[in-house]
Symmetry: C2
Subunit: 213 residues, 2 copies
DNA sequence: TATCATACATACGTGTATGTACGTAGCGAT
DNA sequence: ATCGCTACGTACATACACGTATGTATGATA
């Protein structure tokens, strides 16, 4: 944020100094990414119209095709951006919980809060759209999803060893059901606070076979 | 099934007698409907290509446009067909349960079994695709979904009065989370028997706040 | 057997969204 | 002040899928 980085003939004095090229580019890219994320969340990939995305961001398709190679590249950038946000706001905080059960429930509550914004359904929508296909976007979504599944499998096995999670179906089946139920519940609730947190945690606890959330 | 309905110069004798017009038409329509259902379940509405549907059914688009007015008409027919099947195989059997909790758990298990076939995701896919839109297909899906929500709300209120379901968030929020978690879990499990039944029931029980499935 | 309606297949026109080529205004350094 | 590069906007070419119009073979009827 320090404007002194440049040799700066531009007056560091005050006023909303006219933006530099890099800032301009970054602002445009950010606006386009957010608009694309909202669009993907609402319409999915195939039904997403790039002209609408650009207009909602305040540009035309020209700006979009300057910043991104094509539609696929844009979608992959959105996915990466959403995933990084999720990791920072949900994944990493939950990892600081002491025991596996607490971490799983923290994931549920955190995901519910995360999905209160308008980009909640990006992953779910793309996962539905590309399931069983062989598309780069679908593969990336599948990769992220599989990461989540593996994390849950690990936690479930740990919890069962510690006897904080009762035995039951194979850990992978439980993990799949857990994530599916979590996403389904959160999307159906459409971010209506504050019940979303409790109900998401309840769904997860139920799948795990716990007696209470 | 009685071939005597027609004045029947056609020998009722035996053999695979050549099919009548009505039978032919019904067979074609059924094949097209099933192919369209599979297609909608996999690709959703927008990404569904009618030529692929027709080919998978063993016809061309000509047959499709003879039996259905347009793509929208086809989708609505599929929805009606799937919904009737669901009511017959899941909705009505579950309604014979004695108490509300048993009925809700029967719905969960029945839905899991119902979704083992390849048309499992029709409703979920279309609901995701048309959420917030104003499209005839979306409205029909929303109508069916709302019917399910209302049924769950009724059962939840009954169960709470009977103290078989503990108090908690508003019944409508619980119902939304219940159906969302149920569909999400079943789809994520992709019909892997026999765990799908148990895990679906666990998810529902969890959302309701019950101690066990 | 002749004739009509039905159940399809084939061919065409059209709209729409993508990707690309080109034009243009604004930033940055000499 | 000027010139090159960047960040867009504009215009075009292409592809794809829908809907329709037309052709054709089969079943029904007399």
């Amino acid at each position: 944020m320090s404007p002194e980085t440049a040799t700066a003939r531009t007056p560091p004095r005050s006023a909303p100094r006219r933006p530099t090229q890099a800032e301009r580019r970054a602002r445009s890219r950010s606006a386009l990414l957010q608009a694309a994320a909202r669009g993907l969340s609402r319409y999915g990939y195939g039904n997403l119209v790039l002209e609408d995305v650009a207009r909602e961001a305040g540009y035309t398709r020209g700006a979009l095709y300057y910043q991104f190679k094509d539609k696929e590249d844009l979608a992959l950038a959105v996915i990466e951006w959403v995933n990084e946000s999720w990791m920072r706001e949900v994944g990493e905080p939950a990892a600081q919980q002491a025991d596996p059960v607490a971490e799983l429930l923290a994931l549920a509550r955190g995901h519910a809060v995360f999905c209160r914004r308008d980009i909640a359904r990006v992953v779910m929508a793309l996962r539905m759209e590309f399931a069983g296909q062989d598309h780069p976007v679908g593969r990336e979504i599948e990769r992220i999803w599989e990461t989540g599944v593996k994390r849950c499998v690990r936690l479930i096995n740990l919890g069962r060893k510690a006897c904080s999670i009762p035995p039951g179906p194979p850990a992978r089946a439980v993990a799949l059901a857990l994530l599916g139920a979590l996403e389904g519940a959160v999307i159906a609730l459409a971010g209506q606070a504050p019940n979303d947190e409790l109900l998401a945690a309840r769904a997860v606890a139920g799948v795990l076979g716990l007696s209470e959330a």
